[in-house]
Amino acid sequence: MITRSYHCASLAQLQQTLAAVKTSNFCPSLAIVFTSVQFDLEQIRQCFVEQDIALVGCTTAGEIVDDSLQETSIAFLLLDLDLAAFRIQLTEYKGQNMVQAATEIGSFVKKSFDRPGVLLLSSGLVIDAQSLVQGINSVISRSIPIYGGLAGDDLKMIKTYAFTHEKITDNGAVSLVFDTSKVILTGMAISGWKPIGGVNMITKAEGNQVFEINGEPAYDVFVRYFGLSEADTKHDQLIGIQTNYPFQIIREGRDNILRSPLLIHRDSKSISLAAGVQAGDRFRFSTAPGFEVIEQTIEGFKDLKVKAPEAEALIIFSCKGRHGAFGPLLNKEIQGVYQYWKKPAIGFLSYGEIANLGTDQIEFHNETCAAVILKAVKR
């Protein structure tokens, strides 16, 4: 399988790049595109349709190409993959209940291949991706590799998009299902965020929306714990807090799972987290880790290198919160991960990641760096 990674700063450059590809010997059948929300998605879609290249993609909060981090660009990976080795579906969400969507995606995945592996890109700011992942696995009746991320919108927190060569959605998911007997799909995620302060309890919640913490309006607790003044609660100041200091949901007998507060609702004095929670869930606030975590994360991906020593493409989902926490030093992390395989890589700064965090269990996370390896099976 031949793979190539690109990034363009404009639609014109995208058109030129794709035209140049067409005139070369490289004939890609599939494109994975991660783009800033500032570009016209319909035009991007059209560019790939004109070149007869199947397309999956989503908007981002920053793009990764090989070992560098880009801003407001169109990053894409082209693969000359056997058309019989993958299938694509776009599933629209109906309301906030993920059961129907999970059933639909699960059924599609199940009937696609005997041994499927999924790359899942979801739009929607407040969707319960954890329920989505669990729902898909329950339809298939076993755990299959599912990796992916929640689309971004350059931290505008207004609308995110996922798309295929056929359709664009701001409330749905794109599933790229691989036949893992033909393409190896494996990955992992690493976090590093530490808990701080006492144990709090969510006392009223509905789906992703938390109304009360410790019997107090969730918004009031949030403002008080982060020492925010009225001026601080304006979008720009708040956004750094939201993405850098997630809730650590405490789970009996399992590791804590991080949930970033994605939206703050002043009117209802509530907070929307990146995944569903329930009244009675306990959590602690967290602080961003020290900069040594960058080295530790790179070191941690040695495990993936051992598991998948060879790659033909690398896809990286890095939480936007990591960018907020590590700033310009995030490049070092991306470079470190890229160096293990030195193969065409693309990725994006996401609003949530789907991967396994040091265990076999694939879940939805926040504040992680997830890497996914693609490699054609040798015959």
Binding site: G197, Y225, G227, L329
Partner: protein, 183 residues
């Protein structure tokens, strides 16, 4: 530091006293320093922000713990007051129980006294009655031929009255025993 280097860089460029390879080297070093400065500035800014947020979170945690402590203290005070009230009620109940036991003891004593009285009364009353009946019957037997019909009838009344009186006493005795059994 890099601001000074920037100035030196411009001075070097202006003077033209450096060859191109040295200029290139200096330019690269300066770029590396610029990058380092950006990273250091970011680290410093984030560390200060983290510190401030960590302090806020810990202060809020302490505030909440203090609030919980006060709530627990208030609940403890209420529980203590309830405990005192319960102890008071317990003492009253114990006192009432003692009074009740005392009354029961008195009642039992009364029953015993009544039983004794009934026994004594029945025994003491029955003894003279037996004497009256015996002598009336003796009188009738010995002087039967000397007694006219009226006298015989009167003796019969005496014996009959004694039997009736005896039954009344027996009744009284049974009544007193029913009280003792019922107790």
């Amino acid at each position: 530091m890099t601001d000074h280097l920037e100035k030196i860089w411009y001075l070097v460029q202006a003077s033209g006293s450096m060859d191109e390879s040295d200029k290139e080297l200096l330019s690269q070093e300066l770029a590396a320093l610029r990058k380092q400065r950006i990273e250091q500035d970011f680290k410093l800014k984030r560390i200060l922000k983290d510190k401030s947020i960590a302090v806020n979170i810990l202060e809020a945690t302490i505030q909440d713990l203090e609030k919980k402590r006060l709530e627990v203290e208030e609940i403890n005070q209420k529980l203590s007051a309830q405990q005192r009230e319960l102890q008071l009620q317990k003492r009253i109940i114990e006192k009432n129980a003692r009074v009740l036991q005392n009354n029961l003891d008195k009642l039992e004593l009364s029953y015993k006294e009544m039983e004794q009285f009934s026994y004594i009364a029945s025994h003491d009353l029955k003894s003279p009655l037996r004497t009256i009946a015996s002598f009336a019957q003796l009188l009738e037997r010995r002087y039967y031929d000397q007694l006219d019909e009226d006298a015989k009838e009167f003796i019969g009344f005496i014996v009959s009255g004694v039997n009736q009186m005896n039954e009344v006493i027996q009744g009284l005795l049974r009544y007193s025993q029913i009280g003792v059994i019922g107790k």
